[in-house]
Symmetry: C2
Subunit: 103 residues, 2 copies
């Protein structure tokens, strides 16, 4: 995946997860926007690890959004590319992703 | 700039420009969200070209947001990294950016 394409996936996750927060935890969204909307991009080793993070985010009721690319350009159709978690208190997000390496 | 850092800049532009649209052109934002929130990342050659695009977006009253990094990690303080334009009708955005190369 080229770096522009990768950036699109991350931006898609950011928008979708923040829309999720708008519905369910608007106070988290507002705090995040006011505090400069910090974002951290980390990597997983495979799809299994990503889906496990998704389950954990759901279990902890954190806003999250899984991104699946339609595959019209660089990827096979319906490739899961990334997962957005938050906005949420950083302590809650760190519990899930704090040990992962920066991309 | 590493690719994770680059993705953060793009995501920041996407969130900020969409917040701008929420205030000023909510109908463009809603249409974009419903249609799958298409995003295209293109490149400019220098800061002058970016600022010219910003002026043109302002002149045409398109939602837009310039991203400046605080420079706490990989970049010098207050480095302008990118510009988000839209959500807006694609014909209006293409007029500004249609000739630029994909990143």
């Amino acid at each position: 995946m080229g770096k522009g394409k990768l950036a699109v996936q991350v931006a898609h996750a950011a928008i979708s997860a923040s829309e999720e927060a708008r519905m369910r935890r608007p106070e988290w969204l507002q705090a995040w926007l006011c505090e400069g909307q910090a974002k951290v991009v980390v990597k997983v080793t495979d799809l299994g690890e990503l889906m496990k993070l998704k389950s954990e985010a759901a279990r902890q009721r954190l806003p999250h959004s899984l991104v699946t690319d339609r595959g019209l350009t660089q990827l096979p159709p319906n490739t899961t590319t990334c997962l957005g978690i938050g906005p949420a208190p950083s302590v809650d997000i760190d519990e899930l992703t704090g040990a992962l390496q920066l991309l």
